[in-house]
């Protein structure tokens, strides 16, 4: 507990004690004004910065309760090696899974519906190896478990989505930040394409609206954007190390729009350059304007 945090608690406790019960809502609003919207953690150890980022955003226990069944959704779409940055960093995924268990999660499930062969994606991404010792349930997508879901969105009225996402108590999104030719960048919002069944490739016809629509039904409690390595060109599959930039960064938050908007700055863009961020902001699904956010930067 650092000094700032101690003072905050002391102050809140003081207020809490000094005011009558009916004014609890006031306490809540003071807390909200103080809270961190985004944590940007930088450092050479992916595990350490992930842990630090989650601690700084309120600690894993803010999101996970004892006995929860958790789904963690990384990007494991490609038959690529970790250093090629086409999939989420295995250490980041393993650290989040580890934290969930530390918070008392009953079960942690990890899966993706990859573009390349799933067996190769799971192995070559390094994610299978990283998760094995922790006791995570890393399963392949079972075609029978897609169900048509009512989305009632602008572009997507209904779509077959993977039911395990909706059966879980809590969902955590762990995308990787990459270049993409039509979405421009793929980060947290686009990571949800990985739970779409059916003819999902046709959503590229209206990619921005579709990605915003998905947010109407998929509600992760926490999102960690992996920018340990980012892919700056030839995405989302990549393959050329010259297109990979090592940033040693992860970004944690609860607002995917804000995260993607901040993520754009890593590529020299703005959230406003990304259609899906703009639309989601307009729909009230999150905040695009990062100047309005309380961003905490930490170095480890």
């Amino acid at each position: 507990m650092d000094r700032r945090e101690l003072l905050k608690i002391a102050a809140l406790a003081g207020i809490g004690l000094s005011i009558p019960k009916g004014l609890d809502s006031l306490v809540g609003s003071i807390e909200a004004a103080e809270k961190t919207d985004l944590v940007v953690a930088h450092g050479t150890s992916p595990a350490k910065i992930t842990r630090a980022a989650i601690d700084a955003i309120g600690g894993i226990k803010r999101f996970i309760s004892r006995g929860d069944v958790i789904v963690i959704k990384p990007n494991i779409a490609w038959d690529r090696l970790p250093e090629q940055a086409a999939n989420t960093n295995p250490e980041v995924v393993a650290t989040v899974a580890q934290l969930c268990f530390e918070a008392g999660a009953k079960k942690v499930k990890v899966f993706d519906s990859p573009v390349n062969d799933p067996r190769r994606c799971y192995v070559q991404s390094g994610i299978e190896k990283a998760l094995k010792p922790i006791g995570v349930e890393l399963k392949y997508v079972d075609e029978r478990r897609f169900r048509d879901m009512n989305i009632k969105g602008e572009a997507l009225k209904s779509w077959p989505l993977y039911t395990e996402i909706f059966e879980a108590d809590k969902v955590i999104n762990i995308p990787v930040a990459k270049h993409h030719s039509i979405a421009k960048l793929t980060m947290s919002m686009k990571n949800w394409m990985g739970i779409m069944g059916g003819r999902r490739s046709s959503i590229h016809q209206r990619i921005d609206e579709s990605l915003a629509d998905l947010m109407l039904v998929i509600k992760p409690v926490l999102t960690i954007l992996d920018a340990v390595r980012i892919m700056t060109a030839n995405g989302p599959s990549g393959g050329d190390l010259a297109d990979v930039k090592k940033l040693d960064t992860v970004i944690a938050g609860t607002d995917q729009v804000a995260i993607d908007s901040y993520g754009a700055t890593l590529f020299g863009m703005k959230g406003n350059d990304l259609g899906y961020v703009r639309i989601a902001d307009k729909m009230g699904l999150g905040t695009m304007d990062i100047s309005k956010l309380n961003i905490k930067k930490i170095n480890i």
């Binding site: 062969d117 190769r120 994606c121 192995v123 070559q124 030719s181 590229h204 990619i207 030839n234 393959g239």
Partner: protein, 524 residues
């Protein structure tokens, strides 16, 4: 002895099936099991490959062991090891009635063998069509395994969808165990699966006409080993006690005339020991004798019949082997400059002529192909190339970082490649059908082919075009184009194209690295 033999047969069949199931990716770059080892021990494939291609994969020299084994002990492979022989045995046991009539067709397989050997001298590699190991692996890969998967999956899906609470939990846990150990990762589908399966079931069915019909009359490997067993030192002898009761004739697996003593056909004996086991007088014994020596013949009761193939018939089989070569090659496929656009060979496949001299159509590559894209040909490569592998991208593309087909190919028809070599090999080229492509023909955004393109610098790039819609409104679309120098023809673009029936981007064999003629660009 009977039980010992059955145990041996069972063990080899199980090893065979285990390795067959392991002929599947687990996500690593290598399989971790010597899945093609049965083929490596096959001297028929070794011989025909050497005759046709004048070289053979190193692993094939394991089959010299088989030659030595047969020269020492006779056709023990047929009786104790061969997995197809064992399956014939099992199917044959369904036939309760003894064989009514004993056929005298054993020579047929020698004619088939002569045909195959002679045609292979002229570079026509047809041995794999009838080689028992090749035939078995192909049939299992292309039809029996898909059949097994399909029925199992349908069964468990039906329970799953029935919503019977308690039962679903049990069935799903059984299902997941089966998925791990027995079933393929995904349901395999093959063109001609039904046809090849029918042939296989027909061969098994022949056992109901006469037990081990295939082994006795048709198997060219059996014939090959039969000739070798002429020299074997393990021979059968019959003592004075024989009452010619004929009990041995009815249990003989190879139809080797064991009851005829002097006329016992050593080339047809599988050394199953049935005659010894059944003999009420205990007159039969197997022992080591110098081969073909008159001394040995006189010393023991019971000699060996001559093979007596008949000079004319041998000549006819040899001539057919010769005639088959131009006959099978008088198709346009052999015409200089003719290339079949759909004949996309796996990466690392040799130049077509060299490829056909080696490919034994065993189906290992089709079984291991990670996307199910490798399929058996029918006549795309001429009759000579029947059941050789071709990639059908619409069924499955060639995974950029996968090299398994070259690893399992027993004859080197598909070269073993490392990842670096593989990434440079072109198996064809993608072309865009502008009349069907969404951005080209309809100004609808779509980038799927580019998104999935696996080359580090993408072989598909965008030309940004301003087009007008029906109301005259200007829209900007990214129209995909193929960089012919970067495209390797893997076909993932075709496989994933949202125009699902006839894709707006598709691969044909042109530009394939292995061909000098089937090219498009100026050499550089």
């Amino acid at each position: 002895m009977k039980n010992l033999r059955r145990i041996s047969q069972g063990i080899f069949l199980l090893i065979f099936l285990f390795l067959f199931i392991q002929t599947e990716s687990k996500g690593m770059d290598e399989l971790g099991y010597p899945v093609k080892i049965f083929l490596d021990f096959d001297p028929l494939i070794l011989t025909t490959t050497i005759l046709s291609a004048h070289s053979a994969a190193k692993a094939f020299y394991l089959s010299i062991f088989m030659i030595i084994l047969t020269v020492l002990l006779g056709r023990v492979f047929c009786g104790w090891i061969c997995p197809l022989g064992t399956l014939n045995n099992i199917t044959g046991s369904l036939k309760k009635k003894p064989d009514m009539q004993i056929r005298d067709w054993f020579r047929v397989k020698y004619y088939i063998l002569i045909f195959l050997l002679i045609s292979s001298v002229f570079g026509l590699q047809l041995a794999g069509i009838m080689d028992p190991l090749s035939l078995l692996i192909r049939s299992l890969s292309v039809s029996i395994n898909p059949l097994f998967n399909y029925s199992t999956r349908t069964f468990f899906d039906a329970i799953y969808n029935s919503d019977m609470r308690g039962i679903v939990d049990i069935s799903e846990s059984v299902y997941s165990v089966m998925k791990k150990g027995l079933l393929s990762f995904q349901q395999p589908f093959y063109i001609q699966g039904a046809f090849i399966g029918f042939l296989f079931l027909f061969i098994l069915g022949l056992n109901l006409v006469e037990k081990r019909f295939w082994c006795r009359y048709l198997c060219p490997l059996g014939a090959f080993l039969g000739i070798l067993s002429r020299f074997s030192v393990l021979k059968r002898s019959v003592s004075e006690g024989c009452t010619s009761c004929g009990a041995c004739a009815s249990v003989c697996q190879g139809n080797a005339s064991p009851d005829k003593k002097e006329e016992w056909k050593d080339t047809e004996c599988y050394y199953c020991w049935n005659c010894d086991d059944v003999c009420p007088q205990n007159a039969v014994s197997f022992g080591f004798h110098l081969p073909l020596s008159t001394l040995a013949k006189e010393g023991i009761k019971g000699g060996y019949a001559s093979m007596d193939l008949g000079r004319r018939r041998v000549i006819v089989s040899m001539l057919s082997g010769i005639v088959a070569v131009p006959l099978l090659r008088s198709t346009p496929v052999s015409k200089q400059g003719y290339s079949n656009p759909s004949l996309i060979r796996p990466p690392g496949a040799l130049e077509e002529k060299e490829f056909l001299k080696r490919c034994v159509k065993c189906g290992e590559c089709m079984k291991v192909c990670i996307t199910n894209g490798l399929q058996p040909t029918l006549f795309e490569a001429g009759f000579e190339g029947i059941w050789s592998p071709l990639l059908v991208p619409r069924i499955g593309y060639c995974e950029y970082r996968c090299t398994l087909c070259g690893q399992v190919c027993p004859t080197g028809a598909i070269k073993r490649l490392d990842l670096k070599e593989k990434s440079k090999i072109r198996i064809g080229l993608a072309m865009i059908d502008k009349g069907r492509c969404l951005p080209h023909a309809h100004a609808i955004p779509c980038i799927v082919c580019e998104e999935v393109c696996p080359t580090p610098k993408k072989a598909i790039w965008f030309d940004t075009a301003k087009v007008k819609d029906r109301n005259g409104k200007e829209i900007t679309v990214q129209q995909p184009r193929v960089d012919l120098e970067l495209c390797i023809g893997c076909g993932i673009c075709e496989a994933k194209c949202p125009v699902v029936d006839r894709p707006a981007i598709y691969v044909t064999s042109i530009g394939e690295s292995r061909s000098k003629i089937n090219q498009l660009l100026l050499p550089y």
